[in-house]
Subunit: 342 residues, 2 copies
C-alpha cells in the first residue's frame, strides 16, 4: 500500500498514450487528422518529461475546444509563395497541423534553395516548440523556429505586460548522438512552469515575475493573477522577445501577443498568433560536414566542463520511457481514460 | 585652458573621419576597396557612439595587419550555390568586404526566393555586427546575423572558456522611424566593453566574468588576463552562443572560436572564423504590411512603459554627429592623423 501522500503511478506505453489522447481529442471536437497530430505532440512531451507541455495541457485543450475559440477541424491552406517561401493559413486551427500540411513542401524547398521559410498565421500554439524543430535535425537539416503567445511579459524597462513568453527553438544534427535541440522561452520562466509551480506550491526564482501592481514577487499565483513575467537576461531577452513578435506575427500576418481577445470565449487558453520556421540545408558546399563539426563542438563543450546539453534530460527520459513505459500518476490516467470514454 | 584632467575634444565630420581612416588602412597594408569598407564601418561605429567598435579598434587592426595574420588585400570569392544560398570565401581577409562582394546577389535572391542565406568563411570580423544588418532593413528587408569570435566565454555549467562573445544582430524596417536594430553579445558583456572598462578603470557588473582561476571577478583586467566571460542569462545565453558557433562555423566552413591559433602572429587580434546572414523579404504575401505592423508593436512597447529601443542611443548620437560633427579627443585625432601620414 502506498503512503498517504505518495502518488500511485502507472506505466503506459507511448503508443497507448498516443491512442488514449487521440480518442480524447476526437471526442472533444477535433478532426481525426488534428487528433492524431496533437496526440502525438502531447504524448511526446509527456514521454520526454516535459510535463508542463504534456498531459497537463489536456484540460486547457478541451476547455478551449469547448469554448469555440479554436477550430479543431480546421483544414490548413498551404501557399507555395516563392522558391524559398511557404505560407500557411491555419484557418483558426492549431499550428501543428499547419506545419504538418506544409512540411514536405518546406523541406523540398530547403533542399533545393539551401534555405526556406514557413510562415504560419491564424494559428493556435499550445505546445512546446522543440517537437516542431527536432524532426528537421533528424533529417540532417538545421531548423530555427519562433512563436509568439499571449501578453504576460513586461518589456525591459516597462511597467505593463505586452509580449508573450515567445520561445525560440533550434535544432541541428550532431554525428553519433541525438540532435542538438533547445527550446527557450524569452521570458525568465515558461508560462507552463509558472502554472506547475502554482499547482505544486513552489516559489519562483527571484527576478522572474511581478504581481498585478508591477511589484517583484516569488508567488506563482500572484504572477498568474494579473501579474506578469519578466524577460530573461534583461534588455537582451526583451529584444529577442520583440524579434519573436516581429517574425511570428508581423512577417506571417498573424496576431501580436496583445492583439487577440478571448473574453467572449470563456475557457479559451490557446494563443491565436503566428509562427515562423526557418530550415537550412547544411549539405550545401562547406556545410557538408556539419554533423561531424557539430560533434566536435559538443566534445569541446564537455571538455570545458559543461556537463549536460539542452536536450539531454529529454533524451534520457525518452529512453527510459521507451524501455519502461511512461510513468504517470494513476489518478491522472484514470481521468484521461474517463475523458476518452465521454 | 582646460582643467588638468579634462579631455580636449575636436569635432570631425563623418566624411573627414572616413577619409582619415581610409588613409590609415591604405598605408598599413590594405587594398583601396578594403580600406574604403573598413573605414566606413569604423567611422559609422564612432559616429553612432559605439566607441568599443570605433576608432578604439584602429591599433588592433594595425597590429593585426602588421602581424601578417589577416590579408588586408584579400579578394573574396563569391559562390552562387543555390536559389537561396550564397557562400563567400573571404580568403583570409575581413568579413565586411566579403559581405559587400556578395550583397547584391544575396538581396536579389532574398527578393526572388523570399529568403536567402549568406555563408561567409575564412573571414576576420573585428567590428560591431549591427552595421552588417541595418542596411538591409533600410531596404525593407529583415536580416539576422551571427558571427563567432575567439575563446573567452565559459559555457554554462563549465569551468573553462570555449565560446566567443558570439553576437546576434537583427534588423527590421519600422514605418516612420529608423529601423529596429539590435546587436547583442551572447556573453554577459562584449569583449570591447571589457577592454574599455580596463582602460578607464571601471569594475564589471557581477556575474559577467571569472579570473584565470575560474573565480568570479569584477576586475576587467583579471578577465582579460587569462580569465573569461560568462554567457548572459545563464543556460539560455549559453545555448544561443552554441547556436552561433554552429551557424557561423559548422555551417559556413569557418573556424570555431577555439580553433585558430595566432601565437605565431604577435599582435594579431582579429578572430578568424565565419559569419552567417539570413535575409527575409517581408513583402511576400501577408508580410507586406511588415513596417506598419512593426511600428504598431513599437507604439505598444512605449505604452507598456519601455522608454528606449535597442538602437535609440545610436540613432541619437548619429543625428548629433551629423549636425555637429563627431566629437573626439584631440589627442586621439592627432594620433590617427600621424598614422595616416606614415
Amino acid at each position: 500500500m502506498s503512503a498517504p501522500h505518495a502518488v500511485e503511478t502507472e506505466s503506459i506505453s507511448f503508443v497507448d498514450l498516443v491512442q488514449l489522447l487521440r480518442e480524447i481529442f476526437l471526442r472533444h471536437g477535433t478532426s481525426p487528422e488534428v487528433a492524431r497530430i496533437l496526440a502525438d505532440n502531447c504524448a511526446t512531451a509527456q514521454q520526454d518529461g516535459a510535463h508542463s507541455h504534456g498531459t497537463f495541457r489536456i484540460p486547457g485543450y478541451l476547455s478551449t475546444l469547448a469554448s469555440g475559440w479554436v477550430d479543431g477541424k480546421a483544414v490548413p491552406v498551404v501557399e507555395d509563395v516563392a522558391s524559398g517561401y511557404v505560407a500557411v493559413d491555419a484557418a483558426g486551427g492549431f499550428a501543428q497541423p499547419a506545419l504538418a500540411a506544409a512540411r514536405d513542401l518546406l523541406v523540398g524547398k530547403a533542399r533545393d534553395a539551401g534555405i526556406a521559410v514557413l510562415a504560419i498565421r491564424n494559428s493556435h500554439h499550445f505546445a512546446a516548440l522543440w517537437p516542431d524543430v527536432e524532426p528537421f535535425a533528424n533529417e540532417g537539416l538545421v531548423a530555427l523556429s519562433v512563436v509568439n503567445s499571449m501578453t504576460c511579459v513586461v518589456p525591459h524597462g516597462g511597467s505593463k505586460p505586452l509580449f508573450g513568453t515567445n520561445p525560440i527553438a533550434f535544432a541541428a544534427p550532431c554525428a553519433g548522438q541525438p540532435a542538438l535541440v533547445f527550446d527557450m522561452a524569452t521570458s525568465a520562466l515558461a508560462h507552463g512552469d509558472v502554472q506547475i509551480a502554482a499547482r505544486t506550491g513552489q516559489t519562483l526564482p527571484a527576478g522572474s515575475g511581478v504581481d498585478r501592481h508591477g511589484q517583484p514577487t516569488l508567488d506563482p499565483k500572484a504572477v498568474l493573477d494579473g501579474g506578469a513575467l519578466l524577460p530573461f537576461g534583461g534588455h537582451k531577452g526583451s529584444a529577442l522577445s520583440m524579434m519573436v513578435e516581429l517574425l511570428s506575427a508581423a512577417l506571417t500576418g498573424g496576431h501580436f501577443s496583445f492583439e487577440f481577445d478571448w473574453k467572449k470565449h470563456p475557457g479559451a487558453q490557446t494563443p491565436w498568433t503566428g509562427q515562423l520556421i526557418i530550415v537550412i540545408d547544411p549539405s550545401q558546399r562547406q556545410g557538408q560536414d556539419f554533423a561531424k563539426r557539430s560533434r566536435e563542438l559538443v566534445e569541446r563543450m564537455y571538455e570545458a566542463g559543461q556537463t549536460r546539453l539542452s536536450g539531454d534530460r529529454r533524451y534520457r527520459q525518452r529512453a527510459k520511457a521507451q524501455s519502461e513505459g511512461i510513468a504517470m500518476p494513476a489518478e491522472e490516467l484514470a481521468k484521461l481514460r474517463a475523458l476518452a470514454a465521454v
